[in-house]
C-alpha cells in the first residue's frame, strides 16, 4: 500500500508541474501555491518512506505502462525507502525556499520552471523505486534532461549554455556505462528486471566488468574524480534551489545506484572490488577539498565541497564492500551505516548552504566572494541559519556532520585484521586522509562563512542587501533543524537504518549500551558518543561562564571604532580576499593546481593582481579525449560524401559482405 502511495505522490508532483503551465508567467500561482504544495507532497513522501523503513518490508508493483510486454516493475524496500526519505525531507525545505526564490525575468518562465522542477523531483523518486532496467534508465534520463533544462534556466548567457552542455555530455557518458552495466547484469537471460539480475549467475570476470561499469556510470553522476568536471560548472550556473536539489539529492541517487548494483544485484561482493571506490573516494576527498579552498566563486566552492563529500561517501562504500567481501558483516554494517548517514547529512547541510548562497545572490546579485562581506548585519536570518550548516559540514560536534565522521572513523579504527596484508596498511592511511579532509573542510568553511558574512562589506552596494522572505526562512530553518536533529538523535536514526543494513549486508549495527541517548555501535569495545549530554554539558559550562563573569564583575560595554593596532585608516580592501584566504593551500599544494598569475610590476601606477586556478585534469585528460573524439568524427566524415550514389554503393558492398558471411557459415 505504501508503494501505491509513493507512486500517487510522484504522479501528483508531475501534475503540479503541469499545472504550472496554466499560467506560466504567474509568480503568484507557482510561488505561493504550487511550490508549497509540492513541498507538502515531499513531506508526505518522507512520511511514507519513513513508515516503510520502520516496517522493513518489501512491496512490489507492476504497472502496465510502456512498451508491450514490458510493464513497469516497481519495488519499495528499505534501501529505496531511506533514499526516498532523503528526497522527500530535503525537498520539503528546498521547495518552500524555491517558492520564494523564483521570479519573473530570470530566463525560463516560472510556470515552465515549475514543470521542470517537479518532473525532476518525480523522476528522482522513480529512479529510487524502479525495479527493472528499463524504467530505471527511463527515469534516469528524465532526471538528467529535466535537470539540464533547470541548469540552463538563464540560457541567454553563453557560459551557462556551455556549463549545461558539459553536464549533458557527462550525464550521457554515465548513462551509456549504466546501459552496458545492465546489459552485463542480465547474464544471458535477457530479462531486465532486477529480480532476474539478482538470480543471474555471473562469472567473476563479468561481475567485475558490471561493477566497474556501475562505478564509472554512477561515479559520473555523483562527481567522483576524474568524472567530476561537470559539478563546478553546473552548480554555479543553476538557480540555487536547483543546485541544492542536484547536490543534496541527485548525487545521492547515484550513491543509491552504486549500493543497489554493488551490494544487492551482484549478490555478495568480492572484497577487492572495494579497493576501487575506496582509493578513488580518498583521492576525491582531498582533490575536492583542496579545490574548494582556492575558489573565489561561492557556488563553485560549494560544488567542490560536494565533490569532497561524494569522496567520503564512496570511501564508505569501498570499506563496506571490502568488509562485506571478507565476511566481516558487523563491520560492513557499520561502514554502510556511516555511508548512509553521511548521505542524509549531506542532503541537509549542502542544501542549506546552497540555499544560503541563493539568498545572498538574490540580495546582492553577486557570486564573487571578493565583492561580499559583512552580510551578517544585513541578513541575520540567512547568516545565522547558514552558520549551522557551516558548523555541521565542518564536522563539529554535536551537529550531524560529526556523527557520520565519527561512525566512519570507528569503522576504520576497528577494522582489526583483514586477511590481506596490504589492505591492513592501506586502512590507516585512508583514515589519515579522511581526517585530513575533514580538517581541510573546516578551513574551507571558515573561508566561505568569514568572507561572505563577516568583516566589512567590500562593496558599497551591499548596504542595500535585504534579508530573505518568509517562505525562504521556513525552508532554511527546516534544513537547519534537520542538521541539528540528525546530530542530536543519531541512535533513533540508526535504529531506523537497521533494516537497510540488514537488507544489504545481512547484519545490524548492534547497540552496546542500554542508554537511549548513548551511541555505542561497536560491541566489546568501549566506544560511545552521547550528543545530547555533550550539548548539555557544553551549554552548561558556557552559561556558567557567562553567569560567573556577570556576577563577579560588571558588564559595561562601549562601542568604538575598530582598534586595528591604533594605525587608523582601516578600509574594507585591507581584509583578506577569497584569493588571500586560500593562499596557504595554493602554495602548499601547488602541484595539484594549474595557476595563472598576473603580477604587477614594481613601478605600476595602477597595480593589478590577478590569479586564476584551473584543474590540470582539463589539459591532461579531457583535452586529449576531446581531440581523439574530434579526430574520429573527422575520419568518419571522410566516408560521408553526401552523394546518393556513394551511399548506394555502401549499401551494396555491405550486402555483399553479409551474404559472403552467411555463405561461409
Amino acid at each position: 500500500m505504501l508503494l501505491v502511495g509513493c507512486v500517487a505522490l510522484l504522479l501528483s508532483w508531475t501534475a503540479i508541474g503541469f499545472a504550472g503551465l496554466v499560467r506560466p508567467r504567474s509568480v503568484l500561482l507557482t510561488g505561493r501555491v504550487l511550490f508549497p504544495l509540492g513541498a507538502l507532497l515531499g513531506l508526505a513522501l518522507a512520511a511514507l518512506a519513513g513508515a516503510s523503513l520502520l516496517g522493513g518490508g518489501v512491496e512490489r508493483l507492476i504497472l502496465p505502462i510502456g512498451l508491450p510486454n514490458l510493464p513497469m516493475h516497481l519495488r519499495l524496500d528499505p534501501l529505496s525507502s531511506i533514499f526516498l526519505l532523503l528526497l522527500g525531507a530535503s525537498s520539503f525545505g528546498i521547495s518552500l525556499f524555491a517558492g520564494g526564490y523564483f521570479r519573473v525575468g530570470e530566463g525560463t518562465a516560472p510556470g515552465l520552471l515549475c514543470l521542470q522542477y517537479h518532473l525532476f523531483l518525480a523522476s528522482m523518486g522513480l529512479v529510487l523505486i524502479a525495479n527493472d532496467a528499463y524504467s530505471f534508465l527511463v527515469a534516469w534520463e528524465v532526471m538528467a534532461l529535466s535537470s539540464y533544462f533547470l541548469v540552463t534556466t538563464q540560457h541567454r548567457i553563453p557560459e551557462i549554455r556551455r556549463a549545461g552542455l558539459i553536464y549533458l555530455v557527462m550525464a550521457h557518458v554515465g548513462a551509456l556505462c549504466l546501459l552496458l552495466c545492465f546489459g552485463v547484469l542480465q547474464g544471458g537471460s535477457w530479462l531486465f528486471t532486477f529480480h532476474a539480475m539478482r538470480a543471474a549467475h555471473l562469472s567473476l570476470g563479468w561481475a567485475t566488468a558490471a561493477f566497474g561499469l556501475a562505478l564509472v556510470g554512477f561515479g559520473a553522476k555523483a562527481g567522483l574524480v576524474p568524472l567530476h568536471i561537470w559539478l563546478p560548472e553546473a552548480h554555479p550556473a543553476a538557480p540555487s534551489p536547483v543546485s541544492a536539489l542536484m547536490s543534496g539529492v541527485m548525487l545521492k541517487t547515484a550513491v543509491y545506484g552504486m549500493l543497489r548494483v554493488g551490494l544487492d544485484l551482484l549478490g555478495r561482493p568480492v572484497w577487492w572490488w572495494g579497493l576501487a571506490p575506496l582509493v578513488l573516494g580518498l583521492f576525491t576527498i582531498i582533490y575536492g577539498v583542496l579545490f574548494a579552498a582556492v575558489q573565489t566563486d561561492m557556488k563553485r566552492l560549494l560544488a567542490y565541497s560536494s565533490v569532497e563529500n561524494v569522496g567520503i561517501v564512496f570511501t564508505g562504500i569501498g570499506l563496506t564492500i571490502i568488509f562485506a567481501g571478507s565476511g566481516l558483516k558487523v563491520l560492513a554494517a557499520l561502514a554502510l551505516l556511516a555511508t548512509l548517514y553521511h548521505c542524509l547529512n549531506h542532503a541537509f547541510m549542502k542544501s542549506l548552504l546552497f540555499l544560503g548562497t541563493g539568498a545572498v545572490l538574490h540580495a546582492t546579485k553577486e557570486r564573487n566572494l571578493g565583492r561580499l562581506g559583512g552580510l551578517i548585519h544585513r541578513m541575520p536570518w540567512v547568516a545565522w541559519l547558514t552558520l549551522i550548516g557551516v558548523l555541521a559540514i565542518a564536522g563539529l560536534p554535536p551537529l550531524n556532520g560529526f556523527v557520520s565522521e565519527w561512525l566512519m572513523l570507528q569503522a576504520f579504527l576497528f577494522t582489526g585484521r583483514l586477511p590481506h596484508a596490504f589492505v591492513n596498511l592501506l586502512i590507516p592511511m585512508g583514515m589519515a586522509l579522511v581526517v585530513l579532509g575533514t580538517a581541510l573542510a573546516g578551513y574551507v568553511m571558515v573561508k566561505f562563512y568569514g568572507v561572505i558574512f563577516l568583516g566589512q562589506p567590500r562593496e558599497a552596494s551591499l548596504a542595500h542587501a535585504h534579508d530573505c522572505g518568509w517562505l525562504e526562512r521556513i525552508g532554511l530553518s527546516w534544513l537547519a533543524l534537520g542538521c541539528v536533529a540528525l546530530g542530536l538523535f543519531p541512535l533513533q536514526v540508526i535504529r531506523a537504518l537497521g533494516s537497510v543494513t540488514h537488507q544489504l549486508v545481512g547484519a545490524v549495527v548492534p547497540q552496546a549500551s542500554s542508554a537511549w541517548w548513548l551511541l555505542a555501535p561497536v560491541p566489546g569495545r568501549s566506544v560511545s558518543y552521547g550528543p545530547l549530554v555533550f550539548l548539555m554539558a557544553t551549554l552548561a559550562v558556557v552559561l556558567m561562564t557567562v553567569l560567573a563573569v556577570r556576577l563577579a564583575y560588571h558588564q559595561r560595554v562601549r562601542r568604538g571604532p575598530a582598534w586595528d593596532c591604533g594605525a587608523g585608516g582601516l578600509t574594507a580592501r585591507m581584509q583578506d580576499t577569497a584569493e588571500g584566504f586560500g593562499q596557504p593551500i595554493r602554495n602548499l599544494f601547488q602541484p595539484f593546481f594549474e595557476i595563472e598569475r598576473e603580477l604587477p610590476e614594481p613601478a605600476d601606477l595602477a597595480p593589478r593582481y590577478r590569479i586564476v586556478v584551473r584543474e590540470r585534469i582539463w589539459r591532461l585528460l579531457y583535452a586529449p579525449l576531446v581531440g581523439a573524439v574530434e579526430g574520429l568524427a573527422n575520419a568518419a566524415a571522410r566516408i560521408q560524401r553526401g552523394r546518393i550514389s556513394v551511399y548506394l554503393l555502401y549499401s551494396f558492398v555491405t550486402l555483399l559482405v553479409l551474404l559472403a558471411v552467411a555463405l561461409l557459415r
Binding site: G374, I376, L391, G395, L396, P397, F402, W406, L409, L413, R417, N424, L425, I427, M429, A432, V435, L436, A439, L440, G442, Y443, M445, V446, Y449, G450, L454, G455, Q456, S513, L518, A520, G524, R525, S526, V527, S528, Y529, G530, V533, A537, V541, V542, M544, T545, V549, H554, R558, P561, A562, W563, D564, C565, L570, M574, Q575, D576, G580, Q583, N587
Partner: protein, 316 residues
C-alpha cells in the same frame, strides 16, 4: 556512578580552570631563569586576568553578536575539554558521552569560533591571524587524531579514560607505535598552543604572529576569557600528553577514591616537569618563518601516521 566520580569530574574542570594561569606563570618563570632574566611572579597571569576583567569592554562598531559570543564559547569548550581528559581520575561520568574524537571536535569548534570572531571586525590583522590559525589547524588537528588513534588501537577504545586505564595497567615503557606518536604529539602541542617554533607569544610582530593577531580587537573581559582559554588549552594539551604517554599516578578504577589523594600531587609534579621541559624546548629553538610551519606540522602528521603504520605492522 558514585558521588566520588562526580566529585572527580567537577574537580578536574575546576582545578584546570584554576591552575591553568599558574601553569603559564611557571612556564614563563622557567623561561626567564633559563634566559638569565629575572623571573616574573608566578601569580602574574592571575593579576593580569583580574585587571582585564575589571576594565570596561570596548567593542568595534561593526562587530556582530558572534564577536561577543565567541569568548564564552571558546572558554566554555576548553573548560569542558578539561572534564573529558582524565587528568586526575579515569572514572569520569562524561566518559560515555564524549570520547577523544569528540574532544578533538571540541578543540576544532573552539578554533572555528575563534577564527570567525577574528574575521568579524574585518581588520587586516584579524583575517591574517584567522588564515594562519586555520593553516596550523588543518594539519595539527588530524595529527592529534592520528596520535590518539595509535593509543586507541592499543586499548580498543576511543575514550581517553579507558585508554589511560589500559596504558597505566600495562608495563612501563612505550610501544614502538606510541614512541613515534609521542614525538608527533610534542610538535602538535607546540603548534597548537602558539609556542615558540611556530608562534611567539611574547611579541606582536605582524610578520609572525598568529594567536595574538586574532585577539587584537578584544579588550577587557572578552580578552581575559580568550587569554584564559588559551592557558586552559595549554593545560589540556599537556594533560592529553599525560593521558597517552605518562598515565601513571592517575586514580584508576581499582584504586578507588584514595587514588585522588595521590593523583592531585602527582598531577602537580607532572605539570611542573612538563612546564620546565617546554621552557627548555622554547629556549633552545628559534621561531620558524610562517611559510615553514606547514612543513613542521606535516612532519608531525607523517610521524603520527607512521606511528599507526608501525603499530599495524608490528601487530602489538
Amino acid at each position: 556512578m558514585s558521588a566520588i566520580d562526580w566529585i572527580t569530574q567537577v574537580l578536574e574542570v575546576v582545578a584546570a580552570v584554576a591552575a591553568a594561569p599558574a601553569l603559564l606563570g611557571w612556564l614563563n618563570q622557567c623561561r626567564a631563569w633559563l634566559q638569565n632574566r629575572r623571573a616574573p611572579s608566578l601569580w602574574l597571569p592571575y593579576r593580569n586576568l583580574h585587571k582585564l576583567f575589571r576594565k570596561e569592554a570596548v567593542i568595534a562598531e561593526n562587530a556582530s553578536p558572534l564577536f561577543r559570543i565567541a569568548p564564552y564559547v571558546v572558554f566554555g569548550t576548553m573548560g569542558l575539554a578539561a572534564g573529558i581528559i582524565p587528568s586526575m581520575g579515569t572514572q569520569l561520568p562524561l566518559v560515555g558521552s564524549a570520547d577523544a574524537i569528540a574532544l578533538v571536535g571540541l578543540f576544532a569548534a573552539a578554533r572555528m569560533f575563534m577564527t570567525l570572531a577574528a574575521m568579524d571586525v574585518g581588520t587586516a590583522f584579524g583575517t591574517m591571524g584567522a588564515r594562519r590559525e586555520m593553516m596550523v589547524g588543518f594539519l595539527a588537528e588530524p595529527a592529534l587524531l592520528m596520535v590518539i588513534f595509535v593509543a586507541s588501537q592499543i586499548s580498543s577504545s576511543t575514550a581517553l579514560p579507558v585508554i589511560t586505564e589500559h596504558l597505566a595497567s600495562g608495563r612501563l615503557g612505550l610501544s614502538p607505535g606510541l614512541a613515534f606518536s609521542a614525538v608527533a604529539f610534542i610538535l602538535v602541542l607546540l603548534a597548537e598552543n602558539a609556542r615558540i617554533p611556530v608562534d611567539n607569544p611574547a611579541t606582536h610582530l605582524e610578520l609572525t604572529m598568529i594567536h595574538e593577531a586574532m585577539v587584537l580587537e578584544y579588550s577587557a573581559r572578552h580578552l581575559a576569557l580568550m587569554e584564559w582559554a588559551a592557558q586552559l588549552k595549554l593545560f589540556n594539551y599537556i594533560c592529553i600528553g599525560f593521558a597517552l604517554f605518562f598515565p601513571w599516578g592517575v586514580a584508576t578504577a581499582h584504586i578507588g577514591p584514595v587514588g585522588l589523594v595521590v593523583a592531585i600531587p602527582a598531577l602537580a609534579i607532572k605539570l611542573a616537569v612538563a612546564g620546565a621541559g617546554l621552557a627548555v624546548i622554547e629556549t633552545l629553538s628559534a621561531k620558524l618563518r610562517v611559510m615553514r610551519i606547514p612543513e613542521f606540522l606535516g612532519t608531525a602528521f607523517l610521524l603520527a601516521v607512521l606511528g599507526l603504520l608501525v603499530h599495524v605492522l608490528l601487530g602489538t
